[in-house]
Symmetry: C2
Subunit: 363 residues, 2 copies
C-alpha cells in the first residue's frame, strides 16, 4: 500500500513531502518528492495516561471493553496507549492486570497511577486505597505494567524504584508533596518523569522550588494535560518555552465521561460531575481527570504554543514511545511499524493506520 | 591614564585582553592585545534599588550622607545607583527629593518604591502611607525621580503611567496583586519592568500565571535580589535560564543595616531585625530588604547561574543603564565615560574608577 502526495512529519527527519510505501506491518520505503500535499501524516499518537473513554473505565473494563476502547482511540489517531488505574484495593488492581494479560491492539501496557502516593496530594484519588510501599505489595509491579506514578516521599520508595527498574517499569513522580531536595534526589535516582505536571504537586515558591519548580528546573520529562482546564494555555506555552519539545508528553488523563454527555460518572469509587466537559469531584470540586480526547490535546498544544509539526510529533508520540523503550514505533522511517495518523490542515484525524491496516476513516 | 594587561568585559563586544586608554572622563582608546591578564575590568556596577547602607537610609539621609553613601558604594564597584524611598508621607518623600536636587557623584536619580502600591502586597512597606494615585499627588513625580515602583491595579495607575512617561520616569511593577490579565495590560501599556521579582507578587498557579508567571512568560525586565535569602539560588538560575541575560537587572534592595552588624534598624518607621545578615520586620517576620552589598550580588549571580562575564556585565550594569536611558555608560567602548570596576579572579573589587578617576583601591 502507498500513501502519496503527503506531508510527512518525522520527529527526527522533520517535515517533507513525498510518499510512504507500506508492506505487511511496516514502512518499507519513503520517497521525497516535491508536491502539493493532500494531507499531513504523523506517527500515530501515544497516550500514556488515560483512565477511560465513552463509558469504559480501566477499573471496571472487561477484556472486550479494552478492545472497544482501542478502536475508539483509533478515531483519535491514538495507536499506542496505557489504560491507567487509580488508587484501589490490590484485588481490584490485580483484576485489571489479569484482564490485560493479552494486550489487545494498541494497548502497550498499563499505567498504575497510585496507590503508592502521598495522601496529602491525593487529588481525585480515593484516600482509602493509598499506601506506602513495602515488598509484600510487589505483586502489582509486573507485566503488563509499564509505568507507575508514585510519590518519592512515601516509605519504601527506594525499594519501589529498584524493583520497578529491574522489571522495566518506568516510575513517574506524581501526587507528591516532595520539596526541591526530595525531587532532586528522586531525579538523580532515576525517577526522571512527572505525571500530569504540575497538578497534585507542591507549587513553586521563590525560596523553595517544590514539585512545580523542580519539574521546570531539573531535566524531568513532563506529562501535560493540554485541555485548557487543568492548565491555562499560557502556562502550557510557558512550560514549552522552558522545557522545549523533547521533554513534554501529551496525555489526556481522560475518564469514562470523555466523549459522552455531561453527567455524573464514577472514578475509583468517587462521584465525578462532568459539566461543560469539566470533570470535578462531587465531594469537594477538585479537578478529577479530564474529558479530553487525544486529537483535541494535539490541536490545543499547537494552538497554545505555536510549535511546528515536527515538534508536535515529539510531544504527541515520539517522546512517550522512546521513554517507554518501545522499539520500531514513534517515527516515520524505513523499518518502523506503519502506525500512522493522517490529518487535514486543521489537524483533524482523517485516517488512522495500525501496523499498516487502515483502522479508522473519517468519512 | 592607561589600564594594561587586562581582561576587558563589554556587554556588546564580549571578553578580550588588551588595554584601555582614559583621558579626562572618557575612554579614548582600546587596544586588543594577546596577554595574560592581571585583572578583569567591567563597566561600573549599577544598583537601581537600594534603600541604604552602613547606617545611611534614603529617608533620613542629609545631602552629605548621600555623598558618603556614593563613596561607600565605590567599594562595591557601584558607579551608578538610585537611592530608593519607601512608602511615606508626601512631606517625607518631598524632603528626599529636595535633598537630592544636586545629585552627588554616582547617584543618577531616585527610585520611589511606593506609595502607589497595593496594601495587600505591602511586604515591608508601611501601610499607613500607601495610596491610590490621583493627580494631586503628582508633585513627587519630578526630577530627580527616575524610577517608580507601583501596582497596576491601583486607582489612577493609567494616569500615573502617562505622567511618568511624559516626565521620563520609568514605571516598574511591584507590590502588586495583579493577575495575568492585569499584568499583560500593564505590559502592553509600557510598564515592562518588575521590582524585586517575584517578591510581593502573586505566585504562579498553573491556571493563573499571576505576577510571577507573567514576569516569566511576558517580555518583562526583572529586578533580582541575588542574596540567596530572598530567592533560592536555583530559583535565580531558573529565572536566568528562562529570561536570559538581557532581561535581568541585579539590585541589592539593601537597607541601612547593610555592611553593619546584626541588630535592630529602622525602615520607613518600622523596626527591622537583622540576624545573620537576614532582615525581617519585627512586626511579623516579613523579609524587609536585604543586607546585600552589590559586589556580593555579582558574585552570587555568577555562582548561582554559571553565566559568563559578558552576561554578568549585562545584569550588573548594561541592562539597568539602557533601561534608564542614560547615555555614555554601561559599556567599555570608545567615547564612553570611564566608569570601571577592576576585579580579581574571584570577582572581588580591587579598584573602582569614576569618570576616569580612581575612587577606590582595595589595598
Amino acid at each position: 500500500m502507498k500513501l502519496e502526495n503527503i506531508l510527512i512529519v518525522d520527529p527526527v527527519d522533520g517535515e517533507y513531502t513525498g510518499s510512504i510505501n507500506i508492506e505487511d506491518e511496516e514502512i518499507v520505503d519513503i520517497r521525497r518528492l516535491e508536491c502539493t500535499p493532500k494531507a499531513i501524516v504523523m506517527p500515530g499518537f501515544v497516550d500514556p495516561h488515560t483512565h477511560g473513554q465513552r463509558g469504559i473505565d480501566t477499573m471496571s473494563a472487561k477484556p472486550r471493553d479494552f478492545e472497544v476502547w482501542a478502536e475508539l482511540n483509533f478515531q483519535q489517531g491514538v495507536t499506542s496507549f496505557l489504560p491507567t488505574t487509580v488508587s484501589s484495593s490490590f484485588e481490584a488492581l490485580r483484576k485489571v492486570l489479569f484482564n490485560l494479560q493479552e494486550l489487545p491492539l494498541s494497548i502497550v501496557g498499563v499505567h498504575l497511577e497510585g496507590p503508592f502516593i502521598n495522601p496529602e496530594k491525593k487529588g481525585a484519588q480515593n484516600p482509602d486505597f493509598i499506601y506506602p510501599f513495602d515488598e509484600r505489595l510487589e505483586s502489582v509491579l509486573k507485566n503488563p505494567v509499564k509505568l507507575i506514578t508514585a510519590a518519592p516521599e512515601i516509605d519504601g520508595f527506594k525499594k519501589l524504584l529498584e524493583l520497578s527498574e529491574s522489571r522495566k517499569i518506568k516510575v513517574s513522580i506524581g501526587h507528591s508533596s516532595a520539596t526541591y531536595k526530595a525531587m532532586k534526589t528522586a531525579f538523580e535516582s532515576g525517577a526522571d518523569r512527572i505525571t500530569h505536571f504540575p497538578n497534585a504537586l507542591v507549587p513553586i515558591h521563590h525560596r523553595e522550588l517544590g514539585g512545580m519548580g523542580s519539574g521546570l528546573y531539573l531535566d524531568f520529562k513532563l506529562e501535560l494535560i493540554a485541555d485548557g482546564v487543568h492548565l491555562a494555555p499560557e502556562f502550557v506555552d510557558l512550560v514549552y518555552r522552558i522545557k522545549g519539545p523533547d521533554k513534554i508528553m501529551l496525555v489526556t488523563d481522560s475518564i469514562s465521561a470523555a466523549g459522552l454527555e455531561d453527567g455524573i460518572y464514577d472514578l475509583g469509587g468517587l462521584d465525578v460531575e462532568v459539566r461543560d466537559g469539566k470533570c470535578r469531584l462531587a465531594r469537594d470540586g477538585s479537578i478529577a481527570g479530564s474529558s479530553l480526547l487525544f486529537n483535541n490535546a494535539v490541536k490545543n498544544f499547537k494552538k497554545f504554543t505555536g510549535c511546528n509539526l515536527m515538534e508536535l510529533s515529539k510531544v504527541s508520540s515520539y517522546n512517550s514511545i522512546r521513554e517507554l523503550g518501545i522499539e520500531k514505533l514513534g517515527r516515520i522511517a524505513r523499518g518502523y511499524f506503519a502506525n500512522l495518523v493522517v490529518l487535514d490542515e486543521s489537524l483533524t484525524v482523517l485516517k488512522t493506520f495500525f501496523k499498516g491496516i487502515e483502522v479508522y476513516k473519517r468519512f
